[in-house]
């Protein structure tokens, strides 16, 4: 009996303990859950972050090198697993991404020949080359690194060039819970590459150019470099993004998370703005340096600012160039300024994506800047016998006009942002609006040179790709596969560079960094017009009605296929 009573007591105690512990557990659970629920409205300061010791790292973080990212458990898993792309991002980059070979390419015969022609010594040691072909840790920036400068250089254009110097975030970003804080707090120095505007500026820093902290051109592929053998830069964001092997997850991309993948068209629009802005900043740096006459190394006037193929063509007679001089609003024998970056921008500025007022203002600014730059190359000098290109006041004038154009450009970009945000246009709506606008602009103001047509072509390719991606999404209205593929392919052939040697008729050899060309071809054949380093576009002739008609048909096909959406 006594024993039974003891057991019953024990059970009672156990029950009480169980109830109490259950209640406690429930309370603990609720207490733990409560702040999480309250997280959203309370703002970022409650995001769990790394300890203070880590947060008090240097204000200007330094580079650590791609080696720190390459562990198999981190980003170096050679087996790419869908959904786990972050785990293989280093592997994808090192295997397939031409950026990984940016430094190695400086050791090729082409590069050494180039450096010899320029008289800059070994290309793998020259700041001029390293500023883009490796992590920017050369020259005055040698102190910006924790590791061996030589090791960091050898990585080429590696993780931190785009994602930011990792000193402050290297440890912190490995703790998943801290990641949102690390990504959003600028103190950690991790670049928000998901933001299309940020991304566009990042790419443009090298692929267009960038002035250094001293205000002089720093990352700068100018005409000297091109003449020595460097391929010309002709950057267009949406095309270039489509050619980079993605080391991020494309399958799990959601609207808002990765706007570039989710919206090709938006990427074309922002690419135009930021490429032009980068080009204008370099121009401003050049003009300022020329006006000050302090920096002898700055070339002025700079031929790379003008249309390459205005001069670079074999002489011919009769030539389409002579037939069209009236049609293209240019006098015979003159070259056009800014045919690539500002041509694309002018096309954009001519569309209805921009509010009418900003459109007019931007077009006016660009026109006046164009006038100033084209006057540099030929002006009557009867009164002063002085070379306008060498005159400091002329350079100062260009600098001033460039500043004005930059300000206007910025205002326009915000206007487009606001206009798109306020109308909440869906992606398909945006692309069909762009097709209509481009078509209208094309009919009123057909381009006069290769650059102009190529920019139109890349816009159409972006729109076409956008369509394909959209229709591939689950639940989307299926569009017949690539309705414009055929016509775009035909246009590409007319715009493409010949690969034949003129003298011998043989196939020209591939450039040494042919991985680049090969990956271009593999990724997207439609972008082959951009393949650099070979002949001029010899079969190009804008007076050919065929070219004009093909564009009309492409516009037609892209418009009809977009209407039912």
């Amino acid at each position: 009996m006594q024993f039974r009573r003891e057991i019953a007591r024990l059970f009672r105690i156990m029950a009480v303990v169980a109830i109490v512990s259950t209640i406690g557990a429930a309370a603990a659970y609720l207490m733990a859950a409560a702040p999480r629920a309250a997280e959203e409205p309370r703002g970022p300061e409650v995001i769990p972050g790394p300890p203070r010791a880590i947060q008090s790292a240097p204000a200007a973080p330094r580079y650590v090198g791609a080696g720190s990212c390459a562990a198999r458990a981190c980003h170096g898993n050679p087996n790419l697993t869908p959904g786990q792309e972050w785990n293989s991002s280093y592997a994808v980059w090192v295997e397939n991404d031409p950026h990984a070979r940016a430094y190695n390419v400086l050791f090729t015969t082409e590069s050494t020949n180039m450096a010899a022609a320029l008289g800059i010594g070994d290309p793998w040691k020259a700041d001029r080359c390293l500023s883009c072909h490796s992590m920017p840790v050369s020259g005055a920036r040698a102190a910006d690194t924790l590791g061996e400068v030589s090791t960091l250089r050898a990585d080429g254009v590696s993780c931190e060039v785009c994602h930011g110097p990792a000193e402050n975030y290297l440890v912190a970003h490995t703790i998943r819970a801290w990641l949102p804080k690390v990504k959003s707090d600028p103190h950690f120095g991790m670049t928000n590459t998901a933001d299309i505007a940020v991304r566009a500026q990042l790419c443009a820093n090298c692929h267009v150019g960038q002035p250094g902290p001293d205000g002089k051109p720093w990352r700068d592929v100018n005409h000297d470099l091109i003449a020595a053998g460097h391929p010309r830069l002709s950057f267009e964001l949406s095309a270039f993004m489509a050619t980079v092997p993605p080391h991020w997850s494309t399958s799990t991309e959601k609207p808002g998370k990765d706007p570039e993948r989710f919206n090709e068209v938006r990427s074309w629009v922002d690419g135009q703005f930021f490429s032009a802005a980068a080009a204008l900043k370099v121009l401003q740096a050049r003009a300022n340096a020329a006006a000050e006459k302090t920096n002898k190394a700055v070339v002025w006037p700079e031929f790379a600012e003008y249309d390459c193929y205005a001069c670079h063509h074999d002489l011919n007679a009769p030539s389409w160039r002579q037939q069209t001089t009236a049609a293209v609003h240019h006098q015979p024998g003159r070259t056009e300024w800014g045919s690539w970056y500002y041509g694309g921008l002018e096309t954009l500025a001519g569309t209805e994506l921009l509010p009418a007022q900003s459109r007019e203002k931007l077009q006016e600014d660009l026109k006046s800047l164009r006038g100033a730059l084209e006057a540099l190359l030929q002006t009557k000098t009867s009164s002063e016998h002085q070379f306008p290109g060498g005159r400091t006041d002329a350079a100062g004038q260009v600098a001033k006009e460039t500043a004005a154009a930059l300000a206007e450009l910025d205002a326009c970009r915000h206007a487009v942002d606001d206009s798109l945000a306020s109308r909440t246009v869906g992606p398909n709506k945006l692309s069909s609006e762009l097709v209509q606008s481009l078509r209208k602009r094309f009919e009123q103001h057909a381009p006069a040179n290769w650059d102009g047509y190529a920019q139109y072509y890349l816009a159409l390719v972006a729109i076409n790709r956008d369509r394909a991606l959209e229709s591939a999404k689950p639940g989307a209205t299926k569009i017949p596969p690539g309705p414009a593929d055929g016509i775009l392919n035909d246009i590409r052939n007319l715009l493409s560079f010949s690969r034949m040697s003129k003298q011998t008729g043989d196939q020209l050899p591939q450039l040494a960094n042919s991985a680049n060309a090969a990956s271009l071809a593999a990724t997207d054949a439609s972008l082959r017009v951009l393949r650099p380093g070979v002949n001029s576009p010899q079969s190009f002739d804008p007076t050919q009605m065929r070219l004009h008609e093909m564009f009309q048909r492409a516009f037609q096909q892209l418009s009809t296929s977009s209407t039912p959406l």
């Binding site: 010899a116 022609a117 020595a228 070339v299 074999d314 002489l315 002579q322 016998h385 070379f387 003298q503």
Partner: protein
């Protein structure tokens, strides 16, 4: 009146004129100024006795109609010259169509395009007429609007004729020295290669002071590219309407007086029997081509472009800088290609357009020909290279160059060439041996380094001229020699590949009077330049060089 009709008066006049000529001829003592014989006609000046008054006013142009009265099929008389010059020029020489070109299809199209650049009418615009017709300063009383139609006629090269028009028809003319013919009568001494070069180059390279500049505007509007200019072969391509002394002397083998006259002329020109005039032209041309090109760019930089008779439109007188036409065309105008031969040129700053390279192509050979030995030649070439480099330097330092930096190095280069090369060239005899050496030197220049299209043509033209003259002088000694055949074959191939003939000859007299460069020809010309492969040219000349070596052994 019936007994003395009009034509009798005319014949009487003609007879008295002839009598008067005879009197003048009889009265003239040897080597006296012809003008003294005309003393009654000439206003007295303070000139020293025995000397004609220097030209105090510029002679005027009369047009070629008067020349054609005599210099055209004037058979049956024994003249030292051919007396068919006018027909050769009119029928075979494209210069006679220079003005007509402004009015043909291409001319009209160019005129339309040039309207946007301030050319109202290219058939009256001085910038066009300065090269496309022959009057520069003023039209004389004998000239009318038709004078224009003559294009580049007699007086364009021989000088405005108002002061020699009549005088040079008199037998006494033989007694006037070459120097006086030029300084007192305005008849240019085109038998002197230096004078001839000056005349040709004023249009074919350009002369800013005379307003003869082909601008980039003109090219862009459709003006065919000016080929590089090699004096020796170009005179052959005209074709010549004159005979060299050698042939003239042969013609007058039995006429001692005339022989004496010709030999005297030869002496005045610093030549003798052994002189090969072609070689001399090539070498003097080589130096002048370089000098004139440097001067042109310096004048343009200094704003010295002068358009005669264009005062009413002062805007046209201004010089532009940069004037793209003064740079080497193909430095910019080539399709981009990588790898391309242009990257193999290591001596220049990449991406900075320089002045044309072709005027330098033959200067080295001229230096070789005037130097005592290899060492001296080497030194002189080094000096020349340094001066050239100084002239290139402003163009390398700053795209298009600051015009203020050009005059000084251009001046130095021109002076050096004048003193160090041209002076010794003028007094050298240039015999067969010199020609043999020149062939080797030309081959060396063509094979030593990579040259551009225009320079290659210079070398090939010069070789062609010197080799043909050499062959003639040696009277076909090498005939049957396989080496000679190799040279002939390779040279023929080079001629085709580089289009050395330039469609310059009309094949038959009736081969249409309009010699406008046909579109097909122009296309072929520019294509030949575009497709030029320097290695191929070097290979051809290597073969020629080897054959020349074998031939001379």
């Amino acid at each position: 009146m019936n007994r003395f009709p009009k034509h009798r008066w005319l014949s009487l006049g003609a007879i008295s004129l002839i009598a008067w000529f005879c009197a003048v001829w009889a009265a003239g003592p040897g080597h006296r100024q012809l003008s003294e014989a005309f003393a009654a006609d000439q206003p007295a000046t303070g000139a020293a006795p025995g000397r004609a008054p220097a030209m105090d006013d510029k002679p005027t142009y009369n047009g070629s109609a008067g020349c054609q009265l005599c210099h055209r099929q004037f058979e049956g008389r024994t003249f030292t010259i051919r007396m068919t010059e006018s027909d050769t020029w009119r029928i075979h020489d494209r210069h006679s169509k220079a003005y007509a070109l402004l009015k043909d299809d291409r001319g009209n199209a160019m005129g339309e395009r040039l309207k946007s650049l301030g050319y109202q009418d290219i058939t009256t615009d001085q910038r066009c007429l300065s090269c496309h017709c022959d009057w520069q300063t003023a039209r004389g009383p004998r000239a009318d609007a038709n004078t224009l139609v003559d294009g580049v006629a007699c007086e364009a090269c021989h000088g405005a004729s108002s002061k020699y028009y009549l005088e040079h028809t008199l037998p006494k003319w033989r007694e006037v020295s070459l120097a006086d013919r030029s300084s007192h009568y305005g008849m240019l001494n085109v038998r002197d290669p230096q004078v001839r070069a000056e005349v040709c180059l004023s249009c074919h390279v350009g002369n800013a002071e005379q307003g003869k500049v082909v601008t980039h505007d003109m090219y862009a509007a459709g003006h065919p590219p000016l080929p590089s200019f090699e004096l020796g072969d170009f005179c052959q391509l005209m074709p010549p309407h004159w005979d060299e002394f050698h042939d003239q002397l042969k013609k007058f083998e039995k006429d001692a007086n005339t022989r004496k006259y010709l030999e005297d002329l030869q002496q005045q020109l610093g030549q003798d029997d052994s002189t090969l005039p072609g070689l001399k032209s090539v070498l003097i041309g080589a130096v002048m081509e370089m000098q004139q090109s440097a001067k042109l760019v310096a004048d343009q930089a200094a704003g010295k472009v002068h358009h005669v008779g264009d005062a009413q439109n002062s805007d046209n007188q201004s010089a532009v800088w940069p004037e793209f036409a003064l740079y080497d065309c193909t430095m910019c105008h080539h399709e981009l290609q990588y790898p391309g031969w242009r990257q193999s040129r290591t001596t220049q700053a990449p991406g900075r357009p320089l002045i044309p390279r072709w005027p330098q192509a033959l200067v080295g050979v001229a230096i070789d020909q005037t130097s005592a030995d290899r060492v001296a030649a080497g030194q002189k070439k080094k000096q020349f290279a340094k001066l050239l480099d100084d002239l290139d330097e402003p163009f390398r330092r700053q795209p298009f160059a600051d015009p203020a930096d050009i005059a000084a190095p251009a001046q130095k280069l021109t002076e050096f060439l004048g003193h160090e090369v041209l002076v010794p060239l003028k007094t050298s005899r240039f015999d067969q041996r010199a020609a043999a050496a020149a062939l080797g030197q030309l081959c060396a220049a063509a094979t030593e380094k990579v040259v551009d299209y225009d320079s290659a043509r210079q070398l090939a033209w010069a070789f062609d001229r010197v080799y043909n003259e050499f062959k003639q002088a040696t009277a076909g000694e090498g005939q049957g020699n396989p080496a000679a055949k190799t040279i002939d074959d390779e040279l023929a191939a080079v001629k085709t590949e580089l289009r050395l003939e330039m469609n310059s000859h009309r094949t038959a007299p009736n081969d249409a009077l309009i010699v406008a460069l046909k579109n097909e020809d122009l296309q072929a010309a520019v294509k030949s330049a575009a497709d030029y492969a320097p290695q191929h040219f070097q290979k051809r000349f290597q073969t020629i060089a080897d054959a020349v070596g074998r031939l001379q052994k």
